[in-house]
Symmetry: C2
């Protein structure tokens, strides 16, 4: 080891899902939206002026913040934006979880949580989900340094009711509770109304899934002004200008096109319902899906083998080689045509 | 204080230069390029496809990394890209400065350095510049946890020769030395050739100044594969996908248009030379400028008053209310027309 290497921060990085370079792939592995963003987003892109690009963007990203605030009926002081919800969550870990007590999150959940905790030296404890992958609120009653979980959860796709969430919030009023709603638009109601009662609640959402903009990197958090101020202070201590001129313009256009947004969600939910039916017919079981993916287990075939077989045939899904879920595949909902191809293949090979 | 607020990370954030909303301002306060980016950048923007936007970008940003590697004649393993050079520098602070010994940087320098150090709890020591704002290499000989400084320095605009840099490198072979070359294209030779001799050297550059793309947020570092790997691990532990599809396409187009780049630099250097002459005629003095700004002090007028007067008249420059430099104004080099307006105003009011 070189002398200077002794001063390195050593980490085990998060492994994102594969981004195949081959365009002929049926890509059901990273929960992208199969439909493109609103045409209004493209108009906004085309309208970005050459002279605009030479100037730093507004560090407060106010045009985008205001659009999100208007859409969700909150004050702009309650909105934080970042480079995808991963950036927002990283900032939240760095800002809110400075306790010596462990932060609680489920054992089966977004695998970036322990990575952020390690990066920022945040102690944490994984709380096992129940056998059916549900969250048991009472497991979150003991003293902790904060709570975070996605709803719907990933990779299970399970949605927890607002009663479950409020139970957890009622028992955790002295720490920040983060609900990661990356997939909420495909599920039941959001926890947003709970913000009125819980100043320590932070809700994180993203443009990458329901708004079809994974390629532009836009995420946001909604919470009380005190939480948002603390996160913004940390953000301004890290990078003042994170949202490019193109992001600001395109993100604003996306959030303003409500009709297109609702229509895309309707389509994906419809395909999800049909896909669930077809998975069942082929001998798969799965938790009731709330997100734009289904977490399936076959009655006979090994998930690992099926994953490899699909991959060889240019159908990419996600497999997690970890305890409790190594019998499962996470399959993103694609277009009807893509799902047809998947099911035709499965029918032939199972 | 609310109970959960006890777990917050408390910071004093960096204050970026003002981004006035009024478009009729002569904006010489944040070192932006007065000329727009290459027309090829606009073509790349127009060519971003709608279907591309729904997909996550390549997390390795390989198209952009390869273009930078080709331009600077290094291997792609030697290139790291981020959301502006501030993002790159934040990652570098987080990755390389984990020593208990203080990191050294000049007392007068980019004011973000102590902010990052505080954010990541990196001990640091400010090393006073000489009276003429030069860096004295011997001041960097004592044991430390790393070294960072800009060349040319900001806000002084002073450029240090490669001999000075190599003197510092020779005496700091056990720590990472970062040379922040945000403004190097407006100055003498880059320290890039020193990379062959010093594996512990990291050079950081940006698209925000010489490539006229502050609005798109692209920065990069060039260093040995060991340094880049360590930074990438930290980056992948923070946010896997930082560079949007638009950034990748536009950044690549920018770095490939060498002719436009050289022409814009020639223009700015020419305007800088003429502006220096005019400042002198009006009773200003300044260190020999290496960057796209001049750090001027008037023989009689107080910098603070001049700053306020200019601002009232819609001419924005930068004033730093801090010891040793509170007699100075940092004036970005604008177009010839903008500089004419500045000097006409100064002539009338001094």
């Amino acid at each position: 080891m070189k002398e200077w290497e002794k001063n390195f921060r050593r980490v085990v990085p998060y492994t994102p899902g594969e981004q195949p370079k081959n365009a002929n792939v049926i890509k059901l592995n990273t929960n992208e939206n199969p439909y493109p963003p609103s045409p209004k987003v493209m108009e906004a892109l085309q309208a970005v002026s050459r002279d605009r690009l030479r100037l730093y963007p507004d560090p407060t990203a106010s045009v985008l913040v205001n659009a999100i605030a208007a859409r969700y009926e909150v004050e702009p002081e309650c909105v934080f934006v970042g480079v995808g919800s991963d950036d927002v969550l990283a900032m939240a870990f760095m800002t809110f979880f400075q306790s010596a007590k462990p932060v609680f999150f489920p054992d089966i959940t977004y695998s970036f949580y322990p990575v952020w905790a390690d990066l920022f030296r945040v102690p944490y404890k994984k709380i096992p989900l129940a056998e059916d992958f549900s969250i048991r609120p009472q497991d979150y009653y003991p003293a902790n340094g904060g709570v975070i979980f996605p709803n719907p959860n990933a990779p299970t796709s399970r949605y927890e009711s607002l009663e479950v969430l409020e139970d957890i919030l009622q028992h955790n009023q002295d720490v920040v509770v983060i609900i990661d709603e990356a997939y909420i638009d495909f599920a039941g109601p959001s926890a947003l109304p709970l913000l009125k009662k819980y100043e320590n609640l932070l809700i994180v959402q993203t443009f990458s899934k329901s708004r079809s903009m994974a390629g532009m990197r836009i995420g946001y958090a909604i919470g009380s002004p005190g939480l948002i101020k603390a996160m913004s202070d940390v953000k301004y201590s890290f990078n003042s200008y994170t949202m490019s001129q193109a992001c600001l313009a395109m993100g604003t256009a996306a959030v303003e096109d409500e009709e297109y947004f609702q229509e895309m969600i309707r389509r994906i939910r419809r395909t999800r319902d049909m896909s669930g039916q077809r998975f069942k017919e082929l001998g798969f079981s799965f938790p009731e899906p709330g997100a734009n993916f289904i977490f399936v287990k076959h009655e006979r075939s090994k998930a690992r083998d099926l994953f490899a077989l699909l991959r060889e045939n240019n159908i990419f899904v996600r497999y997690f080689d970890q305890p409790r879920i190594d019998d499962y595949l996470r399959v993103t909902i694609g277009t009807d045509q893509q799902m047809d191809a998947l099911f035709a293949f499965l029918k032939k090979h199972l």
